[in-house]
């Protein structure tokens, strides 16, 4: 029973770049789909054109330099976050937040305001169109990857983005797990595998066990850890801060983070960073607004000294994940590197030294996560029977108890889906409500953990201790929490309204969905415009050709005047952006040239018949 007709894809919705991939039915191998610029990488950059059009990817990235106030990058850092969570980001990234961003961040692009899921949806929509152009068929379902260490709100925000992009999100898969899947398919690895994934904005480490069973291969995640505020972006920020300081000492130049100059410099520094992965030194040459050319020679040694704190920060989660899996570095059979930032020689060296073995880098670190997502999409779509992923929840789920402490009900690294039941009753006679606060995290006090949701169990007045309500907390296969309550005495479902602490309400999602259709219409209108203009072009050419032909002499001056007027009207419409008007003018010109076409056609036929006898015709 297939619930849908469209194609299914795997999407890596990354901090810096996003990709879309599918499994080629012929070869059974996953493949990334290139976009209109030939690259499989779609820069995760979104820009709002002054005419209201949304621009995504490479053209949007160019606008970072010319229209930084209308353009946003690294929006993944804001997904599922509240204002208090992103203070660090606001120091380093040119995000323009709207007031009223407390529980859902709102970002300003030019004159409009968007939530992070809406901006991510623009990226997803772009990738969807790449895939649709590639297949020549509609795409309506996707597996989307998320950092393994994403919490409930960040996962929910990603799922919302998929919905807003018109995609049914069949599964959220953890990025390192997806990478392991791609590698496992690539060379049939077995045993214990550590996946070290340093992306643009997030770091994950996952420890997996690859098991061959009679039924097929199982990819079982034993533990995961990470840091959702740590990535290649941070290396760029460090380089930028370092150079700002150098320039400040010699020249009086303002580097406001929103400015074009800061973006120019950032771009130049990213190029230096890439060069230093290949070369021992690289020279930065940067023209300053005061006319002076700033130069700085980077050596790899100096670069590594600068980024040492970032590399060290990744090793703490690595050690914790190993401890949680009750393993030592030497117990690992393989290590795998994922994410563009792992091209850095220092990171490769650090991982090799820690695990005592050369890490795998055979698959393109930019593409491997999308490839794995495509593999999982194929498993889900075709019901592939010989592969199974068993993932875990990265953070413990807890309930706030008396005094603000946390009672853990589902520990971190539990295989998902996972659940826990808690029994609640009243403490005083005729108490009508029991307040429940759900949190996620490892700290002992609720205020140090991530607040997920609050709700009140409504109970009819009764003596204390008599009502018995069982609340079931369930983390689904996407790592997203579901809550249900049941009256133990009657066995009936107990309705609850869970108010998520962060994230967009269902009502708001509905409103956004309507707006996203408006954008879809805008896309549609644009295609119509291009097609109408192309058609106008060809009819204008044909008309000009007909008017220049010898047969056109048979046309009266009055008729010719009418045709010229229609041509002028179509030219004018074609320069505008109203495709309906262009269509109307095309029809008018068609009507005006009806006689001309006939005359030319007749002339052409008689020319063709000249010199031929009847028998030949």
């Amino acid at each position: 029973m297939n619930r849908s007709m469209g194609r299914i894809v795997g999407i890596d919705l990354g901090t810096t770049n996003s990709l879309v991939a599918y499994v080629d039915p012929q070869t059974g191998r996953p493949k990334c789909i290139p976009g209109p610029y030939g690259s499989t990488l779609c820069p995760s950059v979104v820009s709002l054109d002054p005419d209201g059009k949304i621009i995504v990817g490479e053209p949007a990235r160019r606008r970072l330099l010319i229209q930084p106030e209308r353009t946003i990058y690294s929006v993944k850092r804001l997904m599922g976050r509240g204002l208090a969570d992103v203070q660090e980001e606001l120091q380093l990234f040119p995000f323009r937040l709207d007031p009223g961003s407390a529980s859902v961040i709102r970002v300003r692009l030019g004159e409009k305001v968007f939530t992070p899921p809406e901006i991510s949806a623009f990226i997803l929509r772009e990738l969807k169109s790449w895939a649709e152009a590639h297949f020549g068929e509609a795409v309506d379902r996707a597996v989307i990857t998320v950092p393994a260490y994403f919490n409930d709100a960040q996962r929910q925000a990603t799922k919302d983005a998929g919905k807003l992009a018109g995609l049914e999100v069949l599964r959220l898969v953890n990025e390192p797990t997806a990478a392991a899947l791609a590698y496992g398919l690539h060379e049939k690895q077995r045993g214990k595998v550590a996946v070290y994934d340093l992306g643009g904005g997030t770091f994950d480490i996952s420890i997996l066990k690859l098991i061959s069973t009679r039924e097929g291969d199982i990819y079982q995640v034993l533990s995961t850890n990470g840091d959702t505020h740590l990535g290649g972006d941070d290396i760029d920020n460090l380089l930028q801060a370092f150079i700002h300081e150098q320039i400040r000492q010699t020249d009086d130049v303002d580097f406001s983070p929103h400015g074009e100059l800061a973006q120019e410099l950032r771009k130049a520094l990213i190029a230096i960073k890439h060069e230093l992965s290949e070369e021992e030194s690289a020279l930065l040459r940067f023209p300053l607004p005061n006319g002076r050319l700033f130069e700085h020679q980077f050596t790899r040694g100096a670069f590594e000294a600068l980024i040492l704190p970032i590399v060290e920060r990744t090793m703490r989660p690595v050690k914790q994940a190993l401890a949680d899996a009750q393993l030592k570095p030497s117990d690992m059979d393989e290590a795998v590197l994922v994410g563009g930032a792992t091209r850095t020689p220092m990171i490769r060296r650090t991982v090799r030294e820690f695990f005592g073995r050369a890490p795998h880098t055979e698959l393109n670190p930019d593409e491997v996560v999308a490839l794995g997502a495509a593999v999982q999409a194929n498993i889900l779509d075709r019901g592939v029977q010989d592969m199974l992923l068993l993932d875990v929840t990265p953070l413990s789920l807890g309930i706030e108890t008396y005094g603000g402490a946390v009672a853990k009900v589902i520990p971190r690294n539990s295989t998902i889906p996972a659940s826990a039941q808690e029994l609640y009753t009243t403490g005083v006679d005729n108490q009508t409500g029991i307040d429940i606060h759900v949190v996620q995290g490892e700290r002992e006090l609720a205020r140090d953990c991530r607040s997920l949701a609050r709700f009140t169990l409504r109970v009819p007045p009764a003596p204390a201790g008599l009502p018995r309500i069982e609340v079931k907390f369930l983390i689904d296969a996407n790592g997203i929490l579901q809550v249900a309550a049941k009256d133990v005495r009657t066995g009936e479902a107990h309705s609850i309204e869970v108010q998520p602490s962060y994230g967009i309400s269902d009502a708001e999602i509905e409103r956004m969905l309507e707006e996203s259709i408006e954008y879809a219409e805008k896309d549609f209108a644009e295609r119509q415009l291009i097609e109408a203009r192309t058609e106008a072009e060809s009819i204008l050419n044909a008309t000009a050709k007909a008017l220049n032909s010898s047969q056109a002499n048979a046309i009266s001056a009055e008729e010719r005047g009418k045709i010229d007027a229609s041509v002028a009207a179509l030219r004018e419409a074609s320069a505008g952006s109203d495709y309906k008007l262009i269509r109307r003018r095309i029809d008018e010109l068609n009507r005006a040239t009806l006689h001309l076409a006939e005359v030319v056609m007749n002339g052409a036929i008689s020319t063709a018949l000249e010199g031929r006898n009847v028998a030949e015709v």
């Binding site: 098991i211 079982q220 779509d381 019901g383 199974l388 889906p417 029994l423 369930l474 296969a477």
Partner: protein, 230 residues
Amino acid sequence: MSSQPATTNPPLVCWNCHERTVGTHFCSSCGKLLQLPQGVDYFSLLELPRKLWIEMAALEQKFLQLSWKLHPDKFVNAGEEERELSLKRSSELNDAYRTLRDPIARVEYLLALEGARKEGEKKQQAPPELLEEVFELNESLDELREARASAGDLTALKARLESAERNFQEKLGEVDDQLQAVAKEWDAAFDANADSAARKKLMARMNELLNRRSYIRNLVTNVTKELAEV
């Protein structure tokens, strides 16, 4: 250890075909995924007797085998009822595996199952024979906090607390050894089909050891935390 067959389940009516069915996982008549039958606990789900020594490799194998059958990935294209059921059934399987894999959680679960331990019933009173040591420890902790507030010398205090930490760690080890010994007795009583009075006695001892363990563990956690802040 040979695993005993799962308890026979009472007949159930399938939600889909409404036929009576005897399957634990799938309807014997129409093949649809079923609710977990009444009376199937974590032990019987994983086809284990209610004993405390478990062969881990066999447990894992059973877990993986059932994962193939119950995981939501296998039901993506199924109807909504079956998709919901697979979410429920696979979470129950994962909960069962998580609980039985951990020796302490396993004892707690067994006692709860046998009605010998109520949820949330963890006595936080100090076991009488530990009273003196706990009193000393709390005094040292208070001194440490005071000394830290007034930036006094912490070296001696720190050493005293570290030795107390080691002392309680050792006690924790002792409790674990005792618990293991009683667990062995439980398994023997199970095999010998011992009467309920004998079982109850063993369960009471395990319950007491669990409470003691939880108390000492809290102490160790507290000391470790305070020491980490020095």
